[in-house]
């Protein structure tokens, strides 16, 4: 008889345990996904973004005022649209993930927006700059904290023509990112006095550019504009030297990374690029962010877009604290964000979820680092681009 009673007793005991655990003071753990290139040629930017998102999570978990515990689920899109769609589907299909901080590469972000919309997962893009990611659809789930390439190329064309340059050859990769840059740069340049002598769409995986560069050598432009990411930019800049080409090399936000300087070495001197937002150290909360980042001893630097990943993660957490861990409520609240304080300045999403940030920063590589144009010896006249 006593043996028969043992089993039900054990069940009752276990149920009580489960109940007690459920009633404990431990806050609920909320999952937020981070998606970016963690491997591959542009992984430097992705790892910096992941660490920054992780920092935002850690800081909030350490805060006693937080209602929930947060967990970051980092996923690698390899900067490839097909892989991006796979991991986006994986994250969106996981009901425990309530929001996402997603994508550094525009081509990947373009491929995944429909996935997030279909599954109703609210996301904030932290690095990709193609305008169509937010403006090419009406999906209420898609938001972006960084600016777009429209403003970037307007400032680039204006600045370069002011410097006295008048002829360009354009090399762009044939992804949405590269083509977008070319489109907006060409538009901005034709409104001014600049002339594009030749345009060369190239494969981002291409290794040899000597034929294209020789053709550019024949055209003899003053500037070579490159719309693409750092790995391709490194190859083009290195092969320009092999052909004895001394033109000014003008890049886009895609090459603003330490990986570009490491890859090109001394040839990086005098390379120009433009990027949305201000340099991290000059952002409203930039110094705090950099101090906190350095204190964590991450293996990789935050890179140019780290602050945006931090701001996107922090904004999602703020919204969850306010409305709770529900995808629909988070999405609705994100769409109402106006003048929300963040380390990148106030965030205001327009009707397409685009942050109305318009500040563009000009950079030049001087002595092996990206220097703000205004602070550089090129601006003061001690060095010359030509």
């Amino acid at each position: 008889m006593s043996d028969k009673l043992k089993l039900p007793n054990i069940f009752i005991f276990l149920i009580c345990c489960v109940f007690l655990i459920g009633c404990s003071d431990q806050p609920e753990t909320i999952k937020i996904t981070f998606i970016g290139p963690l491997t591959g040629g542009v992984s430097a930017g992705g790892l910096g973004g992941r660490n920054s998102a992780d920092l935002a999570i850690s800081l909030r978990n350490e805060s006693p005022d937080s209602n929930y515990k947060y967990e970051l689920v980092p996923l690698d899109d390899e900067c490839k649209p097909n892989i991006g769609v796979q991991v986006a589907t994986k994250a969106a299909a996981d009901k425990n993930i309530v929001a996402g901080v997603t994508h550094y590469c525009s081509a990947v972000a373009m491929g995944t927006v429909d996935v997030y919309h279909k599954f109703g997962l609210p996301v904030i893009v932290w690095g990709a700059v193609l305008p169509d990611i937010t403006y090419g659809n009406d999906h209420p789930e898609i938001h972006r904290v960084n600016g777009t390439m429209i403003n970037q190329n307007m400032v680039a064309a204006e600045f370069m023509t002011e410097q006295g340059f008048s002829t360009w050859a354009v090399i762009h990769d044939t992804t949405d990112y590269g083509k977008g840059h070319f489109k907006y740069f060409k538009k901005a340049l034709t409104e001014r006095s600049g002339t594009i002598l030749g345009t060369f769409g190239v494969n981002p995986d291409q290794q040899d550019f000597t034929a294209e560069l020789t053709k550019i050598k024949v055209l003899n432009p003053e500037v070579i504009y490159f719309g693409g990411l750092a790995p391709t930019g490194v190859r083009i800049r290195a092969q320009m030297d092999k052909l004895g080409m001394g033109q000014v090399f003008q890049g886009t936000s895609g090459i603003v990374s330490d990986a570009f300087i490491d890859g090109v070495g001394e040839l990086a001197e005098g390379v120009l690029a433009f990027r949305e937002g201000a340099p991290t150290e000059k952002l409203p909360g930039g110094k705090m962010f950099m101090r906190a980042y350095e204190a964590r001893d991450f293996n990789e630097p935050a890179e140019a877009y780290g602050a945006f990943a931090f701001a996107a993660t922090d904004l999602i957490i703020d919204v969850i604290e306010k409305v709770g861990p529900d995808r629909t409520l988070i999405r609705q609240e994100l769409n109402l964000i106006r003048e929300h304080e963040s380390i990148i300045g106030p965030i205001t999403f327009d009707s397409h979820g685009q942050n109305t940030i318009a500040l563009i920063t000009k950079y030049v590589i001087q002595d092996g680092s990206w220097v703000l144009w205004e602070d550089s010896e090129y601006a003061s006249g001690n060095r010359s681009l030509k």
């Binding site: 092969q239 092999k242 890859g263």
Partner: protein, 304 residues
């Protein structure tokens, strides 16, 4: 066109053409001797480049002079891949000799994937492109609009020498004679006392060593290597070998140079140079339709 620019295109095309020809010679050797297509050839090329890079990183710690590092990288890289080629032949290709050719093709394709993914996963940060050391002199001479760099000349010369030596080895040595005999008629060659297995292993070692040389040359020229570099080089090398005539060394050289020439022409003609590969492969398809056995296969009665 300005002669300087024309010469510049020619030099660029020659560097690429020699690289393709080195890969194509490997394909042609394997097919000539054993009638097999070794689809892991491009990945062996990539592994050769990574082996050389790993050696350099080790030698750099010991502050070895650049010329010595380069010599060691080149020798050990080539020897290591020659050994790998022989092992691949012994354990994967020869056991399948009597089975349908598709099996050999598939097993080498899979072996290539293993090499590629192995490098990606186990080489430190193997997914990322790796900077390759610039160990060749960077001196350049300007003749009008031609900028001729010494490293390009060295690479063209080294590649051409490797092909000439391979040709001499096959034509003038006893082992070369054995390779030619096996290529012509395996049964008769065996009856004449030729060690068939040894001959085939030697051929695979030779072809794989050439692939390693091609991989290292690519690294030295572009100063960057990545785990997937062998995919496209393998496809181009194979196409070059086929269009030149599988089994003919001259055909492989012609095919390699032709492909580079077509790519250069495509880059000059099209406003979107990304189409240059489409153009080159389209012309290759048309040539194959016109001469299914290859451009030089008919002229060469003797394979290899």
């Amino acid at each position: 066109m300005d002669p300087g620019f024309f010469a510049q295109y020619l030099i660029n095309g020659l560097v690429q053409g020699i690289t393709y020809a080195l890969v194509a010679v490997g394909f042609t050797l394997f097919f000539g001797v054993l009638d097999v297509i070794k689809f892991s050839h491009g990945d062996v090329l990539m592994l050769g480049a990574f082996t050389a890079l790993a050696l350099f990183l080790g030698l750099d710690q010991l502050s070895t002079p650049a010329w010595l590092s380069l010599t060691i990288m080149l020798c050990l890289g080539v020897v290591a891949m020659a050994l790998l080629g022989a092992l691949l032949c012994k354990f994967l290709v020869l056991p399948l000799k009597e089975s349908p050719p598709l099996n050999t093709l598939l097993i080498t394709l899979m072996f290539g994937s293993v090499i590629r993914e192995g490098v990606r996963l186990f080489f430190p940060n193997g997914s990322n492109p790796k900077p390759f050391p610039a160990l060749l002199p960077e001196t350049s001479i300007n003749w009008g609009n031609l900028n001729l760099r010494l490293d390009s000349v060295i690479l063209i010369f080294t590649g051409a020498m490797a092909i000439v030596l391979t040709h001499l080895f096959i034509q003038k040595t006893r082992m070369g004679l054995a390779i030619r005999a096996v290529a012509q008629d395996e049964e008769t060659a065996r009856l004449m006392g030729i060690n068939f297995n040894k001959t085939v292993l030697m051929t695979f070692a030779l072809g794989s060593g050439l692939a390693a040389l091609s991989g290292i040359s690519t690294g030295l020229y572009y100063q960057e290597i990545n785990f997937s570099m062998g995919l496209m080089l393998g496809v181009i090398g194979f196409s070059a070998a086929v269009v030149g005539g599988l089994g003919s060394i001259y055909g492989a050289i012609v095919g390699g140079l032709l492909f580079a020439f077509l790519q250069t022409l495509g880059a000059i003609w099209f406003s979107v140079p990304a189409y240059k590969d489409v153009f080159a492969f389209t012309v290759i398809i048309m040539l194959m339709a016109w001469r299914p056995t290859g451009l030089l296969a008919d002229r060469s009665a003797e394979r290899v």
